[in-house]
């Protein structure tokens, strides 16, 4: 198993008038190679949680293990941890700073102390993986469009060859096509490299198509944890915490309630189509 979180709690602004509990007794295990979606609305603690995973934030109580090693152990190499657990923040503007895209992507691997040839090779490879070709290498990162900036930011992390890739709202502010492209590329990377991927989002639709497991957070706690099918079965509770399920779940449930013998487990559009066709076929036979 790659990441294990045990009873982690965290409060913002401890000892001030604005103290707020952001994480409340979180326990979670994420095996190597899993594609996990972390979902919750704004302020549910999902961003706080992921910043604990690479040691940027320190839990008020609880323990975190990476490959079985306690990351709060005295003398644990946090910088090595950060290169293995790559975290891409929501706003690419927060990390792009170099004169051109290529040197910006080189920043991460160079910090690992790699030789220059290796750094450049990794930058090329990473930019290729996110679909930014040669013509973009010498462009200023501030000239790029929103989607391209985000790709450049993701490449900046990929070039460090992380074992775990965490993406915080990678699709916020993107049009549907840009969103699908980025998520498709991430899904492909996850398959090719066997990388563990954590996708943080507030959109069920985004996540449902890609991930094999969904962790739903609300008010600093984990409310649901399981396969998309299992989690979406609780769509009424999900609505209560302001999330809801993908449209397909509602369509199928609605059909079932009206007495249409359809399998309501489907989550993606394709699965829903097949389920409806199957149900129609069955009816035709009757």
């Amino acid at each position: 198993m790659s990441i294990k979180i045990e009873h982690v709690s965290y409060s913002y602004g401890q000892g001030t008038a604005y103290e707020k509990k952001a994480l409340d007794d979180i326990s979670l295990e994420i095996p190597q190679g899993q594609f996990v979606g972390i979902i919750g609305h704004t302020g549910s603690g999902k961003s706080t949680l992921i910043q604990h995973l690479n040691g940027l934030m320190r839990a008020s109580s609880g323990k975190i293990y990476f490959h079985g090693e306690d990351i709060y152990r005295e003398g644990y190499d946090m910088r090595a941890l950060r290169s293995k657990v790559g975290l891409v923040f929501q706003y690419p503007e927060h990390q792009l700073f170099e004169v051109d895209v290529f040197s910006d992507v080189c920043f991460g691997p160079r910090n690992l102390g790699l030789p220059p040839e290796e750094v450049e090779a990794r930058a090329r490879e990473a930019l290729d993986q996110v679909g930014l070709g040669e013509p973009y290498y010498k462009k200023s990162p501030f000239e790029l469009s929103g989607g391209q900036k985000r790709r450049a930011a993701i490449a900046g992390i990929l070039a460090m060859h992380p074992e775990v890739l965490i993406l915080d709202e990678p699709t916020a502010g993107l049009d549907p096509r840009g969103r699908d492209e980025i998520l498709d590329q991430v899904a492909a990377l996850q398959k090719e490299r066997g990388m563990t991927v954590l996708l943080v989002s507030h959109s069920m639709e985004d996540v449902a198509r890609y991930v094999e497991r969904i962790v739903v957070m609300d008010d600093g706690r984990i409310r649901f944890d399981g396969t998309p099918k299992k989690v979406f079965a609780h769509y009424r509770e999900l609505e209560e915490i302001g999330l809801g399920a993908p449209q397909t779940v509602y369509v199928l449930r609605g059909l079932a309630e009206k007495g249409f013998p359809v399998n309501t487990e489907a989550t993606t559009v394709e699965e829903a189509r097949d389920a409806i066709l199957e149900a129609l076929g069955r009816r035709n036979v009757c």
């Binding site: 910088r79 790559g86 975290l87 503007e93 927060h94 920043f107 910090n111 992390i157």
Partner: protein, 268 residues
């Protein structure tokens, strides 16, 4: 590290001090700070302590918050005390090697320390009980007579309130950028001075870009809502002195009389 700055951090509470007109608080703070430099005796010190203690009590802000701001002046305090202690001429009390400590020096150092501490606590009380917006409102109204001398009072106070408003935003932004770069292996702590300065580039570039972008957005938003400076601008909540403000001024005058009397009656 960034969290230690209390100056300019409002502490929400419902108290008489919070409800006072910002002008009253500004004048009060100013008078208190000036009075600190008038006194030269223990009697004065006692009066100031009682006054400050009463105000802190009335403000309902935990005492710990007042003291937090002192951490930043610890070094300054130590240096001032050190020099006052050793360099004031007078009756020698203690002699270590070539250094002489005098009776006057001890008193001087003590008063200086008390003054500095009260200075910080006094102004912290004001910023803890007044929102930045209120503060600049009070300044604008209080300095309004300067308008006749063609001092752009409104513009200056608007700039001040915007600057104050942006401090927490930019601090949060700095924190986020630092984290984003640390996630890419950036190191802001180790290395010599030149290396440290160089390491700040990945932090400063995005910070400046973001500050300019925010400034631009804000300017556009203000223009879109028809902002064109102070001329003919009215307020939704104009500042009007209440009974409690007159009461506060009376107490302030009382304090001033007491401290002057203490200064004259017991000149050390």
């Amino acid at each position: 590290m960034l969290k230690d700055i209390t100056l300019g951090q409002y502490y929400p509470r419902d108290s008489v001090i919070h409800r006072l007109d910002p002008r009253t608080k500004l004048v009060g703070t100013l008078v208190f700070l000036l009075s600190l430099f008038l006194f030269r005796s223990f009697a004065c010190c006692l009066v100031a302590t009682l006054f400050l203690g009463a105000v802190i009590r009335a403000s309902k802000v935990p005492f710990g918050f007042m003291v937090r701001g002192l951490r930043s002046i610890m070094v300054l305090l130590a240096i001032t005390m050190f020099f006052n202690l050793l360099l004031t001429p007078g009756i020698p009390v203690l002699r270590i090697w070539k250094l002489t400590v005098t009776r006057e020096g001890i008193l001087q150092a003590l008063f200086m320390a008390i003054r500095l501490i009260y200075l910080i606590i006094g102004s912290t009380v004001m910023t803890l009980t007044t929102t930045p917006n209120h503060l600049t409102d009070g300044m604008e109204k209080g300095l309004a007579p300067l308008n006749r001398l063609h001092v752009p009072v409104h513009e200056v106070s608007m700039m001040m309130s915007i600057a104050l408003r942006f401090i927490p935003i930019l601090m949060e932004e700095t924190d986020k950028i630092m984290k984003a770069q640390m996630a890419r292996g950036a190191d802001f702590e180790s290395g010599g001075l030149i290396k440290k300065a160089k390491n700040l580039v990945p932090l400063l570039v995005p910070l400046f870009v973001s500050a300019f972008r925010r400034a631009n957005d804000l300017a556009l938003a203000m223009e879109a809502r028809g902002y064109r400076g102070g001329q003919g601008r009215t307020k939704m909540k104009p500042l009007i002195y209440q009974k409690r403000d007159y009461g506060a001024y009376l107490i302030l005058a009382g304090y001033l009389v007491c401290i002057c009397a203490a200064g004259i009656l017991s000149p050390l």
